[in-house]
């Protein structure tokens, strides 16, 4: 992953627009045609097409060859780079491991409790 690549600049610029982010979020669920995309946004098809062009130029989406439908789909790699998948992956696991830290502390406490009375039975 190269955070300085011009490709990523284009991706971030494209994603700076809330409509285009919403389009990307919709396409994360599966491919869709311009008509399907235009509906929920209450926008004309040409307006949506303009947004799609920006996303396509940024490499975030690609469009099918079927001349009639030209379905849009997400290009996951660029988006993954854009959101820093390695950082994200790290965050997810670090959150897991913090829970594990807490569990291990608890386990150490319990191990101590169990071993203490045996080692010094007079304390009880």
């Amino acid at each position: 992953m190269n955070l300085a690549s011009p490709h990523l600049d284009a991706a971030f610029a494209a994603l700076a627009d809330p409509t285009r982010r919403a389009i990307v979020a919709r396409l994360a669920l599966g491919e869709a045609t311009v008509m399907e995309l235009a509906q929920p946004f209450d926008m004309s098809q040409p307006a949506i097409s303009k947004h799609l062009k920006v996303l396509e130029n940024a490499g975030l989406i690609s469009r099918g060859r079927d001349a009639q439908r030209r379905p849009c789909r997400l290009e996951p790699q660029v988006l993954a780079d854009a959101s820093g998948w390695l950082d994200h992956y790290r965050d997810v696991w670090e959150r897991n491991f913090r829970r594990l830290d807490a569990l291990l502390e608890e386990m150490k406490g319990e191990a101590k409790k169990k071993s203490t009375p045996r080692r010094s039975p007079k304390k009880d």
Binding site: A16, W85, H88, V92, W93, N96, L104, K108
Partner: protein, 164 residues
């Protein structure tokens, strides 16, 4: 507080992901936490998912099966075929997901030094494409979270980017 924490994640090759993390506990305890269901259920689960099913035979030649359930009720199943089991030092298993293609050879090592345990997990995928697809699928489950982060980034980004 202690000399542990801070996970390191690297990609030693196109097909791998490697994680290194130090835990402030003896190795046998950490090994148990990685291999016993009642303990796994206490900590394992990405993206707010929790381990709803954990079963298997944790021994040489054994297997395990996990189902993780998300806050929205969605479930994701995964399974492992245990290839190597050297408690409490080293584990090798082949991991597959119910809903995603491809498999990963996962090697986990536990090294203890002065009461602290360094865990190294290496995931080796069949190809870069599969590695990226699996990571990507995992990210889709946390899509809302990703977009929030992206939004934060964009909010902080330079005015030239914001205007574009």
């Amino acid at each position: 507080m202690r000399n542990t924490g801070t996970l390191k994640v690297t990609t030693p090759s196109d097909r791998e992901i490697k994680m290194v993390r130090v835990f402030d506990a003896p190795r046998s305890m950490v090994f148990d936490a990685f291999t016993k269901c009642e303990l796994l259920k206490r900590w394992f689960g990405p993206h707010g998912f929790s381990l709803s099913v954990c079963e298997g035979q944790f021994r040489p030649g054994g297997w395990w099966r996990f189902v993780v359930r998300g806050p929205d009720g969605s479930e994701m199943g995964m399974r492992g075929a245990i290839r190597e089991w050297s408690a409490p030092e080293r584990l090798v298993h082949v991991e597959t997901f119910d809903d995603y293609p491809g498999e990963a050879l996962v090697t986990t090592t536990f090294v203890e030094e002065r009461g602290k345990t360094t865990v190294t997990i290496t995931l080796l995928y069949e190809s870069k494409e599969i590695r990226d697809a699996v990571v990507q699928s995992g990210m889709e489950h946390g899509a809302a979270e990703s977009y929030d982060r992206l939004n934060e980034y964009l909010a902080d980004a330079s005015p030239t980017v914001a205007k574009a």
